[in-house]
Symmetry: C2
Subunit: 381 residues, 2 copies
């Protein structure tokens, strides 16, 4: 990490780094101009009260995180705003991450809040390049919640932990009065060991890189929406919730130096991840709509719901940026793993226009894919 | 850790260990008989639904933890059911812990949910003998929660983290609909480094040890009850919420081998901690009521509320068991620290009756102090 990384804001650091490594003089001037603009345009929460959009994982969440949490807690480990923090202890490098889960309903086709809470934190560690080791589990229970449901949730967590090769080693239980929660909220935090030499980050994408997804997108989000039963749609869909640590390990073993970054595409979907990469790296991400794997049932439900699958959460899929020459090896490694069978190159990194995600549509046009605004699918995790 | 520790239940392991080290043959038989009884008497949750008592930190919480969480997640790191899990990474030993906070009201004299959430996790690490390093922060926000209140909470967390010398390095935000939470719930998890050679645990108390509290008890719990305004009591009280890592470090430096265990006396109060120690170590804890420091305002409020200060939560006090010969040194070390000025020896460890806490009352009688039953003070943290 450079000295600038330690003292400047995360976007600024990323852009400066890119400037230093990749740009010609005139390009560097543009970059510095962007830094100045970013400096002047400090994140501000305009709303006086929290809205559902603040939990979407999209634009409102990012603003809240930057204007409130980053502002309060600012430190060099938090500032990159990656899925987990990475630090050294003795001669080891560890990753540490947390997520709270408030999914509704608690039980849905393909999973429940329990395996979701385990897989989500396992995945946040895995995409940092870490081997997940230990999880904590914090429960907020509503008075009146059936003990049998709690047993189902914990049994599901135990199976998921077993499948991912992690242990739940510490925990906590709180109870709130009837009406002060929604059955059960679960928080997991996780510690993982960085035992591979990979150097990953959303600021590491470079022109010429390939953008890969590990399988069909949007299944988790659509499954949750349908499980609520508010829509008169029937579809044979299950959540994609799964632990990605086996897949990330296989990818890093196959291409130790070719992988620029990995991110699991949860709230805000693939589109939000791609925007984070484009901004942090100061590059353009160009996606071919035809190349994005989407199951017909997801596509159909999204059309009826009026939402773009690119914004719908997955809980067992990741977006990976790999150096162009490594794309073939990376894709083969992903496809050789049961959780990566449907992996596909969906686009490429270019240098212009920096900070933007462009979609080449099936009809031959091109449109900008922005960060998610609002929250069309609340409480999907 | 012995092999038995890795394969048997936590109470069993503790009792066996005690048997091996301390007991004569006849005593050992008694101990084995207790193990057999414990084996037959598996923890069972009798209720079909979660009640407020399951969040009290007392008997119902213990049963839920043993019957549901320990049953589902059973592993050697979780089984001791200490305040945090301890494991090795490379040549380092780390502690890892979590707590969720649902205190009501969110703001109270002396603190708020923010500093409580930081101090609570710092303290859980500190009483494991660890130096707290890094925290995670997970927020569950209710739609409509004032952004200004969130800023107050995060500012308070940042100040508390600064005071304790830790950093909040990773986080998460979820939003639930109006009426599905109570403003704001906070989870923190923490990682600390065991850089002192102490060997601590609730199963390590031995006859002849002294029991010490670090200051007047019950202030946090009573402050929260009064802050709710439901009682017509006025008292000049503030929460004792504080980071104990400076105090635990001072104590361990003063008496590296004399300290048997440290526990912060939160939910369930001092009485619950003493019961855990008595059971896990297979010893009797005898407390002198007159020796327990309780401020007059706390004593008065407790009398009006009809509760015993021994069951009321503190958030900046700890219970310590120290070897008899080390008691003087330990007490002096505690009293030399601003957060331990009011430290006092409140009792001693004896060998009979094993597993029980006895109180010598101010009137010269003796009564058993059991684990907290029910929850007279819900949501105090």
């Amino acid at each position: 990490m450079t000295e600038i990384d330690r003292t400047a804001g995360w976007a600024e650091a990323a852009v400066r780094e890119h400037a230093a490594e990749n740009a010609a003089a005139s390009r560097e001037e543009q970059v510095l101009e962007r830094i100045d603009r970013a400096r002047r345009r400090k994140a501000r929460v305009k709303e006086e009260h929290i809205t559902m959009a603040h939990g979407s994982g999209g634009k409102a969440t990012q603003t809240l995180v930057e204007a409130v949490f980053l502002e309060a807690f600012r430190n060099p480990l938090l500032e990159p705003l990656e899925d987990g923090a990475v630090f050294g202890v003795g001669s080891s490098r560890l990753a540490f991450t947390t997520d709270s889960y408030v999914v509704s309903p608690l039980f849905f086709p393909g999973g429940d809040i329990g395996d979701l809470a385990v897989n989500g934190t396992v995945n946040d560690l895995a995409v940092c390049g870490a081997r997940p080791l230990y999880l904590s589990a914090g429960f907020v229970l509503e008075e009146g919640f059936p003990v049998e449901d709690l047993r189902r949730v914990t049994a599901s967590m135990a199976r998921a932990a077993d499948a991912a090769g992690v242990s739940v080693v510490t925990g906590d239980t709180k109870v709130v009065q009837r009406g002060k929660a929604d059955g059960c909220y679960v928080n997991t935090a996780g510690v993982g060991l960085l035992d591979r030499p990979a150097d990953l980050g959303v600021a590491r994408a470079r022109p010429g890189d390939a953008v890969v997804v590990s399988g069909p997108i949007g299944e988790h989000g659509v499954t949750i929406m349908l499980a609520r039963g508010e829509l008169d749609i029937e579809a044979d869909l299950t959540s994609d919730t799964a632990p990605l640590n086996g897949l990330t390990a296989a990818l890093l073993d196959a291409s130790p130096t070719g992988v620029r970054c990995m991110r699991d595409a949860t709230r805000g979907g693939v589109a939000t991840i791609l925007n984070e990469i484009a901004r942090a790296s100061g590059v353009a991400v160009v996606v071919d709509e035809d190349a994005v794997p989407v199951r017909p049932a997801v596509r159909g439900a999204c059309e009826l719901l009026g939402i773009d699958p690119l914004y719908v959460a997955c809980e067992g899929r990741m977006v990976t940026v790999v150096a162009g020459p490594a794309a073939g090896t990376a894709l083969a490694a992903l496809r050789a793993h049961p959780l990566g069978e449907g992996a596909a190159v969906i686009g490429h990194v270019k240098d212009d226009p920096p900070g933007l995600v462009l979609l080449r549509t099936a009809f031959g046009g091109t449109r900008i894919v922005d960060v998610l605004v609002g929250d069309p699918l609340p409480r999907i995790c």
